[in-house]
């Protein structure tokens, strides 16, 4: 991935930072990419992630 492509990725996600932050952006990309590449792949379709929604948690609660 080139610097221009990394900047473009960030812009497409709505982050258009001034040039002074380019070194931080490139560093962040490299760090995140290394971790993303370690995520286990080839999961079964029904493999639930560690998040659930409990409807009762969002009922109004009295003071």
């Amino acid at each position: 991935m080139t610097e221009d492509e990394i900047v473009l990725l960030a812009r497409q996600a709505g982050l258009n930072l001034p040039a002074e932050y380019l070194p931080e952006l490139l560093d962040a990309y490299a760090n995140v990419r290394r971790m993303i590449d370690r995520i286990p792949v080839g999961r079964p379709r029904g493999d639930e992630p560690a998040h659930i929604f409990v409807p009762g948690k969002f009922m109004p609660v009295g003071e």
Partner: protein, 478 residues
């Protein structure tokens, strides 16, 4: 409540030297005035905190009013319990109505919080006396930083070093005897790391045991509030007050809360303890490795069945946790990052930025990975009552802006228990080079806080580390 573990004490010439277990019966009996205790703590803060920089805000007027009220209530026979009249302080991401929450950041508006956090409410209802708000890494993540409105707190044991973080001020203030108890928060180790560096006790409870309502978020799915005290007994007393279901926190667990002090029997004979040595041996400094090995040997002598086990590499937990955190942090801070990136401290901005590159597929992939790692770690609790490992892989870091950033090293021994959501306590186990504390962690199954407290207390009873106090110097001479 009466409790045999609340000690009797007769020397109140310096009440700041005492912990909750000694202070509470004296306050209840009238032998010690909450007003005198509060004034002693405020005087100690006034004398020494210019050198340590623990407090962002000292709420002295409010504290004096609360102390007078507590004294009047107790004299009138309305004793609320062991925290009545006991001073405390809060990491400054925890709201107190009428007091600004700074999060140690220029991003916060500086206006007073509208309401108390739930944990603040519980401590106030117990009659505890708020002395102020404590320094933190920016939003409990970006630090230690020297480019924020407040410089980082320093370590009371040696001010050439930092107190760890992100609950930096909480760890340092309790170690410095400014307050006998404080609230910290822990997403990847932010209660346990400063506890380890400051020679105090810090508990990251089970995810959901303490409410996070009214606390600035770091990572919704991994954030915990936790008690920080000088001893395990004091930690149990504080947990008794702070634990419990909060229906207005979606992450709060509706679980029964036992009397944690009652778990402190001193007896761990027959308890099965797994020593996770591969997480620290060869990674930690030799003084930490030796210290944890010695602590494990003591647990064995106390009758526990200690066996060495090998768990997956720490890096797996750290990468998984960091991916989840970075995604959630970016969601929390994206609007500010887009409009005023210069208002962030450099370290917070660096740690949040990566979230822009994490796609939904990858975030959910990390959450699937979390399931694997949590399931794998919790499986050990089918065979063992507790896991023991090092509190941190190094002693405190130098107070040097140019020192290598610990986040860059990516080897954080507290993160496995963060990711798995299980209770883990940091307990002092000695001192190393530069007079800096060493620590071990004790972890147990979800909601088995009583077990980690029981093991920690049993160790504490036969060690003397929590009886030591740092020698402080005022800022005039430091």
């Amino acid at each position: 409540m009466d409790h045999p573990l609340l000690a009797t004490h007769s020397d109140f010439s310096d009440p700041t030297a005492l912990g909750i277990a000694e202070l509470a019966p004296a306050i209840r009996s009238g032998a010690l005035s909450p007003v005198a205790l509060t004034e002693a703590c405020l005087a100690r803060i006034a004398r020494y905190d210019n050198a340590l920089r623990c407090f962002v805000t000292v709420t002295a007027d409010r504290a004096r009013l609360a102390a007078a009220r507590a004294e009047a209530e107790i004299k009138a026979g309305h004793y609320r319990g062991p925290l009545h009249g006991i001073p405390y302080a809060l990491k400054d991401i925890v709201d107190v109505a009428g007091v600004p929450t700074t999060a140690h950041s220029r991003l916060m508006p500086g206006t007073p919080a509208a309401a108390d956090a739930h944990v603040t409410t519980l401590l106030e209802q117990a009659g505890a006396i708020l002395l102020g708000k404590l320094g933190t890494f920016e939003f409990a993540l970006g630090g230690p930083s020297w480019d924020l409105p407040w410089p980082p707190p320093l370590n009371p044991w040696n001010t050439d070093f930092l107190p760890g973080g992100s609950s930096s001020g909480s760890g340092a203030a309790v170690a410095a005897r400014f307050v006998p108890m404080a609230i910290g928060t822990d997403t990847g180790g932010s209660v346990r790391w400063p506890a380890a560096c400051c020679g105090i006790v810090g508990l990251k409870p089970t995810y959901g045991l303490l409410s996070r309502r009214g606390v600035q978020p770091n990572t919704f799915s991994i954030d915990h509030c936790g008690p920080m005290t000088r001893t395990v007994r004091d930690c149990a007393l504080m947990l008794n007050v702070c634990a419990g279901h909060d229906p207005r926190d979606p992450g709060s667990a509706d679980e029964a809360v036992p009397d944690y002090v009652a778990a402190l029997t001193g007896d761990i004979a027959g308890l099965r303890i797994a020593l996770v040595r591969n997480w620290y041996a060869g990674e930690a400094t030799s003084e930490i490795t030796d210290g944890v090995d010695r602590a494990a040997a003591i647990l064995s002598r106390l009758g526990a069945i200690v066996e060495e086990v090998s768990l997956p590499d720490i890096g797996d937990y750290c990468d998984c946790k960091t991916l989840i955190s970075t995604s959630e942090l970016f969601t929390i801070h994206a609007a500010d990052l887009r409009t005023r990136p210069e208002a962030f401290g450099e370290k917070l901005r660096q740690r949040v930025l990566g979230g822009v590159f994490i796609r939904a597929e990858e975030y959910l992939g990390a959450l699937r990975w979390r399931n694997d790692l949590a399931r794998g770690l919790q499986a050990w609790f089918g065979r063992y009552d507790a896991l023991v490992t090092a509190g941190w892989l190094n002693t405190a870091e130098p107070a040097d802006p140019n020192h290598v950033d610990f986040f860059r090293r990516g080897r954080n021994i507290t993160m496995p228990f963060s990711l798995a959501g299980v209770p883990a306590i940091s307990v002092p186990i000695g001192f190393g080079e530069h007079n800096l504390p060493l620590a071990m962690q004790i972890a147990a199954a979800p909601f088995a806080e009583a077990t980690v407290l029981r093991v920690g207390d049993a160790y504490e009873r036969v060690s003397e580390w929590t009886t030591r106090a740092p020698i402080l110097h005022s800022g005039d001479s430091a």
